[in-house]
């Protein structure tokens, strides 16, 4: 008994056609990702040039410090040459060098960090703006949490990458600079001392893959812990209703323990590099002391050079260390970049034509001409739909779940584009007008009222920012929401909690009605919006809507008989096709599906189409 409803059709298990999984480590360099990333960097190339120059200046002054020390020792302090004037000049030179170092350091740190912040915002904004326009079917099958992790986590790791890559330039220059200076100062001692570097490289090459796995595991366990926490927070009411606290706690404890152990292992692997580097540093210094010391004894090496070497040794492991870490940062950034660009690449299926018109003076007529549409290729949800609604007419859409009512209204608003046929609003094809003006022409009340955090006033006004309090109050009064709003502590300024959590569903719905009224559109679409309101409220709303709909076109996805009876016309949908059209009386006389639905139902048409209910409904009729 397969249910052909849209919900099952778009199952897309595990998001197979949605976004890809969260693999953590991949290639360290991906030309395509880098290229696209550069697009966001380009606007800042001037600032970044300054940053790179500052990095170079900073690095060169760092290399210069031991050289100045060497100069002081060899030229000013040793033996007969001892000379206060040279010392004084060298010391002043030293102050000059460190002052340049200070300025360059400040500039490099601040420009790099600030630019990275800006690029981060640019990327996030680009993604966010894109998500405002991508097809709704993509939004339907992608959870908000996953999008959020792209908007925050992935963008964050790109920021880290950007910051560290600029400093990496400095690291490379520092490394090359130190090696060069050491070799120039004394090539034999230089090469001997540098012999420890390949050892470190080999060790790190062996170490890295093992450590990476441990780091990855640690990250994975962290996201498992966070995922479990998130779900328990969101479902906390159910948890308490079902007294699941102990079971959930135990399961969570297992996850947290895994996380702890994974992190401890990662920590051990990370820390193992500390004595390794220290040993190699000690070894290099020992080489300088024995070999260099003997050379100094033989008078074939200046003692200042030996001291400079000791200073350089303490420096040159730092860049090696950060450069090898840079590798993982890059891998992470590439993976994040891929995920970010994946979002940016999601096709915008509905786009304004370059010469799209507006609907300014258009009337509120609606026409579906031979419309065929579906969400999954080969599975049409609507088949050859034809109807026309005149300006000012109110029609009710009726039919079992999955018959295509919601899709019809979604198409009217051009949430999706039709496969075949044409939809005309105000006499114009919806594809020929801007979405902006279509949105102003067609207001919608959705099945589930969605409220934003903010005041009642802001929620009713929503995007019609020019609407004043009087207009808001008038709309609230029209739908009968005024009284309960005034009963709130701050009236219209009362802050609504997350998704209006501190209001009842009925109240939330009334607010979303008021919102649609404020939008003041010629066409009003009500999508199953009356399902959760009690009869009294519903009656009030219906009276209000009758007033609001005056002069407007209304399309109501109806469940309640009362709603249907007030409509000028009723369209019955079944399996994506129109089976009956007419007034309430006409349809009752017709003796078709509408009649059967009506006969078996007290006041609602909800949900008949599923499982047993559907089977029996049909059986009853036959």
């Amino acid at each position: 008994m397969l249910n052909p409803s849209r919900e099952t059709a778009r199952v897309a298990r595990g998001g197979a056609s949605g976004l890809r999984g969260e693999e953590l480590f991949g290639t360290a360099f991906d030309g395509k990702v880098m290229g696209r990333f550069l697009y966001f960097v380009r606007p800042y190339r001037q600032v970044l040039t300054i940053a790179v120059l500052a990095v170079l200046a900073f690095t060169l002054t760092q290399i210069a410090v031991p050289l100045v020390i060497r100069m002081i020792i060899d030229d000013a302090l040793i033996g007969d040459a001892a000379n206060r004037d040279i010392l004084q000049m060298a010391a002043i030179g030293f102050f000059g060098v460190v002052t340049v170092n200070y300025v360059a350091n400040y500039i490099q740190l601040v420009t790099v960090a600030k630019t990275a912040e800006r690029i981060l915002i640019d990327i996030r904004r680009a993604m966010y703006a894109h998500l405002q326009h991508v097809s709704l079917s993509f939004m339907d099958k992608t959870e908000v949490g996953r999008l959020m992790s792209r908007l925050q986590g992935d963008v964050g790791s790109l920021q880290e990458f950007l910051e560290t890559s600029i400093f990496a330039i400095g690291d490379i220059v520092l490394l090359i600079g130190i090696v060069t200076v050491m070799v120039i100062l004394d090539w034999q001692l230089g090469l001997l001392t540098l012999s420890v570097v390949p050892i470190l490289l080999v060790i790190r090459v062996v170490w890295l893959p093992i450590a990476k796995r441990a780091f990855m595991r640690a990250r994975e366990t962290s996201s498992m812990v966070n995922g479990a926490l998130a779900e328990n927070i969101n479902g906390v009411r159910t948890v308490q209703e079902m007294t699941r606290q102990q079971i959930n706690y135990d399961a969570f404890e297992g996850k947290v323990m895994d996380n702890l152990l994974a992190h401890l292992r990662a920590s051990r692997l990370a820390q193992i590099m500390v004595p390794t580097v220290d040993t190699l540093t000690g070894g290099a210094m020992a080489i300088v002391i024995i070999i260099g010391g003997n050379l100094v004894l033989d008078r074939s090496l200046d003692v200042g050079v030996m001291v400079a070497f000791l200073f350089y040794i303490q420096r040159f492991f730092d860049p090696i260390r950060s450069l090898t870490m840079q590798y993982s940062v890059m891998q992470r950034a590439m993976a994040s970049g891929q995920r970010i660009f994946e979002v940016l690449d999601v096709k915008v299926e509905v786009e304004d034509k370059p010469d799209a018109a507006t609907l300014d003076d258009a009337d509120g007529s609606v026409e579906f001409k031979d419309v065929t549409f579906g969400y999954v290729k080969g599975q049409a949800v609507l088949k050859n739909i034809n109807f026309r609604i005149e300006q000012g007419e109110t029609i009710a859409l009726v039919g079992p779940t999955g018959s295509g009512k919601t899709s019809t209204t979604a198409l009217l608003h051009r949430f999706y584009d039709v496969w075949q046929g044409q939809i005309m609003v105000g006499g114009k094809d919806v594809r020929d007008v801007t979405q902006e003006s279509l949105g102003q022409h067609v207001a919608m009340v959705l099945q589930e009222p969605f409220l934003f955090t903010g005041t009642v006033f802001e929620n009713i006004r929503y995007r019609s920012t020019e609407a004043g309090m009087d207009k808001i109050v008038a709309a609230a009064k029209a739908v009968g929401a005024h009284d309960f709003i005034m009963a709130l502590p701050d009236g219209y300024d009362a802050i609504l909690g997350q998704r209006g959590g501190n209001l009842s569903i009925g109240q939330r719905q009334l607010i979303s009605f008021a919102r649609a009224i404020v939008a003041d559109a010629k066409i009003l679409v009500l999508d199953e919006a009356t399902a959760n309101v009690d009869s009294f409220t519903e009656r009030d709303i219906q009276q209000a809507l009758a007033r609001t709909l005056k002069g407007r076109t209304g399309i109501v996805i109806a469940h309640r008989l009362a709603t249907v009876r007030h409509a000028d016309r009723i369209i019955v949908l079944q399996d994506g096709a129109i089976t009956e059209t007419g007034t309430h009386e006409e349809l009752l006389d017709l003796g078709g599906l509408y009649h059967r639905l009506h006969a078996m139902n007290y006041a609602s048409f909800d949900d008949v189409g599923e499982g047993k209910a559907a089977a029996e409904t049909v059986a009853l009729g036959e």
Binding site: M139, Q152, E231, T238, A251, G506, Y602, A603
Partner: protein
């Protein structure tokens, strides 16, 4: 010198909410293992539901108190903490010796100590000795550094473990009244970023401060001794650096707090936009939404920029002061060498001593930043951990003893603290006996759902009392109460897991036959059986989405699984069609005949068969009686009946 750890940890923080099935049924519940070396500490945290952290003064304001409590938690690590502290001291002292060996090596190389040709062998031996000492000291220093870094990190991770459990546990026990007020995103931020902030403080904060203190203290003692002036110059930048660090700490802390708040607003704006994308599209609100985003985004950027400026102007000026001090040492030291007061080797010692100081001083910025963050994060965490659930079990609470399962409201009054006046009920008295059904009807906001929430004690009554079989529900354990009360709500939360796990959420060990029986009574079995993987189909955020009616039926099945003795249906069939609802009622008949049932609905057909019906308005009972009595009364109920059923009938017979 943490090698990679700090970098990858930084990214953990950003690792976002990926939902993961939490409701693992019994089969896959991971057995918690404990870390052996920490068994005693773990015993405290992991012993069960009531994980604890040291209690603190509830009224503290400053972050200082929060830091103090974090420190107290660290003190609980009686093995790790002393090892870490000892290791950091030893490592720092070893590090201070390296410049001494280097200096003597330089002097030896210059042949100053040997003097004559005869001493050449002795000088070479001394060089060899110095080299070996440097090597040996470096190795030992590395090992001790590893030790303290690891112990500190292990402590940080273990405390994070403790905090995560305590936090999780607390959130589960905080009452509905709390969850009504907070944003889930905020709770998530605390559970992720704030715990992370505390962890990093333990890892880097405490130990680094000790390291710095030893390096400066012991360093001063070692080096001032040989030449007070040079020793003084070496450390001359320290007071300046510490002063800057202090100022910096305060400013960063303030900025961090603001940034945190603005970030969470930005997160909320994005989340709501993505979650409500249909509303956005329906009103063509994209431009409006982008404006909203840009405003929030700019607001965070502004603070982020200020942080960058404050942070780096401080770190760079601190580094500058360090180099200036080094210049002075070079200059003054150079003069002293020329004057023959000290040797080149001794000058080298002082310079090398300064290199030892460089890294920790450079890290002060990071440490200070960490302290600033931890004091804010700690405050945010302890605020929740210290909170008492509004609904608490009495210490001597007994198990609910059931005989006839009668539920009774005695003059119950209640008001939410959030929106008083709106959802208040008052003077409610009624009784539902075993086998009886009570219907509650009334306009929205009349307090129907409030009644439903009061029975399992999700909120406590403010007046009067509720009793089951004569036992006040405040005198019995929450577990036994909630096991006996099955509440079916209109909003159903689906966990991301198989449908069977969702049905058996309250009874994870139930066999599949029972699950099928429950879904069958809820008229959901046929639908599930038609799904691609029937009961193993994933639902929730990452799986099949169910329609409102299906979710409600799932919720009914969930409660039926529990075989509670009191069932409360809170408008739980609003989205289910009348025919299906009738079948559900038929199916549940066997189950309801020996329990008390309350049906809340605004659809009269759902409750007109009830033994007794209450018409609620504005939190008070305005009419009560059986369906027939109320119809005969000709009041509010009658009006509603005419509106709903009369109209339908009339239409049907038209």
């Amino acid at each position: 010198m943490p090698v990679g750890s700090s970098k990858f940890a930084a990214n953990d923080v950003l690792d976002l909410i990926k939902t993961d099935p939490v409701c693992i049924r019994a089969k896959s519940v991971t057995t918690a293992q404990s870390v052996k070396s920490d068994a005693s500490e773990k015993a405290k945290a992991g012993s069960g539901l009531h994980a604890t952290v040291p209690a603190g003064d509830r009224t503290y304001e400053g972050g200082g108190r929060a830091l103090w409590r974090i420190w107290l938690m660290a003190l609980g690590y009686r093995v790790r903490l002393p090892i870490a502290v000892m290791a950091v001291i030893v490592a720092a002292i070893l590090q201070l010796f390296i410049p001494l060996f280097l200096g003597s090596a330089v002097d030896n190389a210059m042949g100053l100590l040997g003097g004559s040709e005869a001493g050449l062998g002795a000088v070479k031996d001394a060089l060899l000795l110095a080299a070996l000492l440097v090597l040996g000291t470096s190795i030992l220093r590395g090992l001790f550094t590893l030790l303290f870094n690891y112990q500190a990190e292990a402590m940080g991770q273990s405390i994070a473990y403790q905090l995560r459990l305590a936090y999780f546990d607390k959130l589960q026990r905080l009452s509905f009244s709390y969850h009504d007020q907070v944003h889930s995103g905020d709770l998530m931020t605390r559970g992720m970023l704030d715990i992370e902030g505390v962890r990093r403080f333990i890892e880097h904060g405490i130990i680094r401060v000790i390291q710095l203190a030893v390096l400066i203290g012991v360093g001063a003692w070692l080096y001032m001794g040989s030449d007070p002036l040079l020793g003084f110059l070496c450390l001359s930048f320290v007071p300046f650096a510490v002063w800057r660090a202090g100022v910096f700490r305060l400013r960063l802390r303030a900025l961090w707090k603001v940034l945190q708040e603005r970030l969470s607003v930005l997160t909320r704006v994005m989340e709501e936009n993505l979650g409500g994308i249909r509303v956005v599209r329906a009103f063509s609100g994209q431009d409006f939404e982008m404006k909203k985003f840009d405003e929030r985004s700019e607001a965070t950027l502004e603070i982020a920029m200020q942080r960058v400026s404050v942070r780096y102007s401080n770190t760079s000026v601190m580094t500058y002061s360090y180099f200036l001090a080094m210049g002075l040492v070079l200059w003054v030291g150079g003069l002293r060498v020329i004057d023959g007061l000290i040797t080149v080797g001794e000058l080298t010692q002082f310079l090398a001593f300064m290199t030892v100081l460089q890294m920790p001083i450079r890290q002060t910025g990071m440490v200070i930043n960490g302290i600033a963050r931890a004091s804010v994060s700690g405050l945010r965490l302890f605020e929740i951990l210290d909170m008492d659930p509004a609904v608490m079990e009495k210490p001597d609470a007994a198990e609910l003893q059931l005989s006839n399962g009668a539920l009774e409201f005695h003059d119950v009054g209640f008001s939410y603290s959030g929106f008083p006046g709106e959802h208040t009920v008052s003077n409610l008295s009624f009784k539902v006996a075993k086998g009886e059904t009570l219907g509650i009807v009334g306009p929205p906001g009349s307090g129907k759902s409030t009644i439903a929430h009061l029975i399992p004690r999700f909120y406590d009554v403010t007046e009067g009392s509720i009793s089951i079989d004569g036992q006040d529900i405040r005198d019995i354990t929450l577990d036994s109460l909630r096991t006996h009360v099955g509440l079916v709500q209109q909003d159903t939360f689906l966990f991301t897991t198989e449908i069977s796990n969702n049905v058996a959420y309250g009874e994870p060990w139930a066999d599949s036959a029972r699950i099928v029986r429950a879904t069958d009574s809820a008229q959901l079995h046929d639908y599930i059986a038609g799904l691609p993987e029937d009961y193993e189909t994933m639902v929730g955020e990452r799986g099949v989405s169910l329609s409102g009616g299906q979710r409600q039926r799932l919720s009914i099945a969930r409660s039926v699984m529990l075989t509670p003795s009191i069932m409360v249906f809170d408008d739980s069939t609003a989205a289910v069609d009348a025919a299906t609802e009738m079948r559900i009622r038929e199916a549940l008949k066997d189950l309801t005949h020996n329990r008390a049932t309350i049906i809340i609905s605004h659809r009269l057909a759902s409750l007109m068969h009830a033994d007794q019906i209450i018409f609620l308005d504005d939190g008070a009972i305005v009419e009560r009686g059986s369906h027939e009595e109320l119809l005969a009364l000709g009041g509010r109920y009658r009006a509603l009946y005419d509106l709903q059923i009369g109209a339908a009938r009339e239409g049907a017979h038209a």
